[in-house]
């Protein structure tokens, strides 16, 4: 079991989660974060911290593809443990539907 970052993180990337995660298991892409499923200890601390409600337990239905995406990019992107300023237009993208298709970037973020 692990927690999973999903659609609404894309282009919001508030990063509040990285400050509270006890095991530093967030990895940063250009416009979203993912959780490394082998490092997450399922403590659930990050879930309520996300202003975009983009973090869920992988026991929730319909997250299989997100779990795969998290696992895949966690091994490609740099680790992030320190919160920075979210994107200036984060609020405008909060709640926009189906961001994966339109906006997801596979490029790595800057990391710590």
């Amino acid at each position: 079991m692990t927690f999973v970052v999903s659609d609404n993180c894309i282009k919001c990337k508030y990063m509040d989660c990285v400050e509270v995660c006890p095991v530093d298991c967030f990895y940063e892409g250009e416009n979203m974060l993912v959780i490394h499923p082998d490092e997450c200890i399922d403590c659930g601390v990050c879930e309520p911290e996300c202003p975009a409600d983009a973090i869920s337990a992988d026991t929730e239905p319909g997250l299989e593809n997100w779990l795969k995406l998290n696992a895949e990019y966690a091994s490609l992107w740099p680790n992030i443990t320190i919160k920075r300023e979210p994107p200036a237009d984060a609020k405008a993208f909060d709640g926009v539907a189906d961001k994966l298709k339109q906006y997801f970037s596979p490029k790595p973020g800057q990391g710590d």
Partner: protein
């Protein structure tokens, strides 16, 4: 605040410190857990206790005080078996119930069980074997 039962009714840094101290007193005299912990922590226990105050503070109070890699730490300990996690949980839950009221100790138990399951998966899960595992003989 201490409620009528004499138990703590919320999580605080001080409550966590008491919980961790009381819990590891039990661990260090437990026939199953004591030998494993004695090998892993052969000297001064205070650094471990201080780390555990920070860990539970991070988990229960979202303070971000702990930063570490518990999966790697547990992988490095020889002799860890899945059923030891059950023993650990039983002692931890008993300690929580001694110190905190029901709702607060439930909150600790839920977190502890999830973290234990996740550590067990990380340590023992193999895709070609059934999960949950049968106890090791």
């Amino acid at each position: 605040m201490i409620v009528a039962s004499g138990k703590l009714d919320h999580v605080s840094e001080e409550g966590i410190r008491q919980l961790v101290d009381m819990f590891y007193v039990k661990v260090r005299i437990d026939p199953e857990l004591a030998p494993i912990f004695a090998r892993a922590i052969p000297g001064d226990w205070q650094p471990h206790l201080t780390k555990m105050y920070a860990f539970w503070s991070s988990v229960m109070l979202t303070t971000g005080r702990y930063k570490g890699n518990p999966v790697a730490k547990h992988l490095a300990i020889p002799g860890v078996k899945p059923e030891l996690f059950e023993r650990w949980l039983a002692l931890f839950d008993a300690t929580c119930s001694e110190l905190f009221d029901d709702a607060t100790s439930d909150a600790f138990r839920v977190k502890a069980e999830r973290i234990a399951e996740s550590l067990k998966l990380a340590l023992f899960y193999r895709p070609d074997r059934p999960w949950p595992q049968e106890p090791t003989p």
